[in-house]
Amino acid sequence: MALAILFGVFAVLLALGVSVAVALCAAALATLLYLGLPPDVLVIETAAGTDSVTLIAIPLFIFAGQLMLHGGISSRLIAFASALVGHVRGGLGQVNVLSCLFFGGVSGSAIADVSAIGGSMIPQMVQRGYDRDYAVNVTISAALVALLVPPSHNLILYSAAAGGGISIADLFAAGVIPALLLTLSVMVTAYVIARRRGYPTAEFPGLRIVATTMVAALPGLLLVGVIFGGIRAGIFTAVESAAVAVLYALAVTALLYRRLAWREFRAACLSAAQTAGVILFVISAAASFAWLLAYLEVPALVVGAIREIADDRLVVLMLMNVVLLVLGTFMDMAPLIIICTPIFLPVATSFGVDPLHFGVILIVNAGIGLITPPVGTVLFVGTAIGKISIAQVMRTIWPFYLAGLAVLLLVTYFPALSVGLPRLLR
């Protein structure tokens, strides 16, 4: 009965349009009252939800990304990508994908990717004769790469949701190969469609331009190196690397690029605070819910139930993929990670799946959910920038879905793609 109250109240409130964080807390409070437990457990556990030092990295990485966004990095990254791949058939599509990979390494956020790169690239593509649906589809699919490359705050979120025991340095490394695979799959898909639609090519600008644009973009690209190298070399903790990333972003944008005046700094600061506040509130609210999941032994119940359906690791992984994909269409990234990790991670580990491997599977599933209706924030931002309806995008997005699903299957059934690099770097 307690479980029915926990999930029932949560589901009803969500259906009524109550925010996920409030629904989580209300469901926890109702269950606590039913069980006769002290209701101040809600406040204590919600407070405890923010007592993890790891979480400090999330607002700081978001802050660093916002500083880069407001400080003139994206135009330099796009210029470099343009020099590298602009001459390929449908070149602006390829530039878009590569820029998303580069910017993902600066922002760690798919929404920031689609806003920054899409905001520049989609209007340019449309102006140069590319169809709007193509421009939006390429951008939103490529933006998902940011979820997997360091400094992805979603990977930190997963580590926190898993109880903080999973190394963030290992998670950052685990995402690299799947991110490159996703980039490649979107580039190939974009190229095939560009050929079929007869999009233009451009002349190769020459190695001198490639070198010049690379030098201009290098300070931004080096941010990944500072973060990844700093943590890997044991110089910083993940949280300290996030603070150093903020300082680095300030130095690059204010001193080197000279694009970050007080107005841009203030905008970056407030924007980061607002975004981080929304994400951290869900994390904090989910703590009391997760406490009740553990109290009611839900993970053990789910493991038992799944073992009755299937006993093969590959079948279980497929089942989890289906469930996560369906949930991903309805739920946003952060709530999905926070709610599903305590339930599905014990199932995965009980079948011998490495937590790093499961983390990457979870992020790819949730990422595909970000570009699928009815709830797909990256899809919404992309269509808003592209000034096109969701229905129009949906008619031609299926090749990009297939590319994403192919990467998901590869990542699911070839664990070495995720766990290989972290093991190599240890």
Partner: protein, 173 residues
């Protein structure tokens, strides 16, 4: 079709604080959250500096950083209530007419205000109950770490009520 080589400047977006009777409070709350974020950065950088440069890591940085995290979280999350920025699914509302959309949005805001009241009440009780207890390694009482809950709860209630009164059919997503 034109050439494929050229680059535009990136968009420069900023947070827009919506007008309304509590706009000044929202501006102040977001400024506090943003300030906490800047201080959080400085505290973490100081931690690295003291460890490598002074060879004497500061012990107070962790509890202070966590206090700043909670401050940023609750003040920014409260402004998120005012701006309808929190994750939610409006599927049922989208399937209904304008009248029911407003009704459902007000129900959601009522639930938010009720939770805010819980945070404010129990948060304040925890502040008082733990004010005399010193935080290990930090120069402030444990009760201070519950203060963002209590103040954030009051802000949640205020902004939820303000938004509930300001709702018009056309403004509900």
């Amino acid at each position: 079709m034109k050439s494929d080589q050229s680059v535009a400047d990136e968009p420069s977006e900023s947070v827009v604080i919506a007008p309304g009777p509590l706009r000044a409070l929202a501006v102040a709350s977001l400024a506090i959250a943003g300030g906490a974020l800047v201080l959080l950065t400085l505290v973490e950088v100081w931690q690295v500096f003291t460890r490598y440069m002074l060879d004497a890591p500061a012990g107070w940085t962790e509890p202070v950083a966590l206090l700043l995290l909670k401050t940023a979280l609750f003040f920014a999350a409260a402004v998120g209530v005012r701006h309808d920025a929190h994750f939610r699914f409006a599927l049922l509302a989208e399937a209904t007419g304008a009248f029911w959309r407003v009704v459902l949005a007000r129900v959601a805001l009522l639930a938010t205000a009720a939770l805010g009241a819980v945070f404010a009440g129990w948060g304040a009780a925890l502040v008082l109950a733990t004010w005399a207890v010193k935080t290990p390694g930090a120069p402030f009482p444990v009760g201070l770490s519950y203060l963002p809950f209590a103040v954030g709860g009051v802000l949640f209630v205020s902004f939820a009520i303000e938004r509930a009164f300001a709702l018009r059919a056309a403004s509900v997503r």
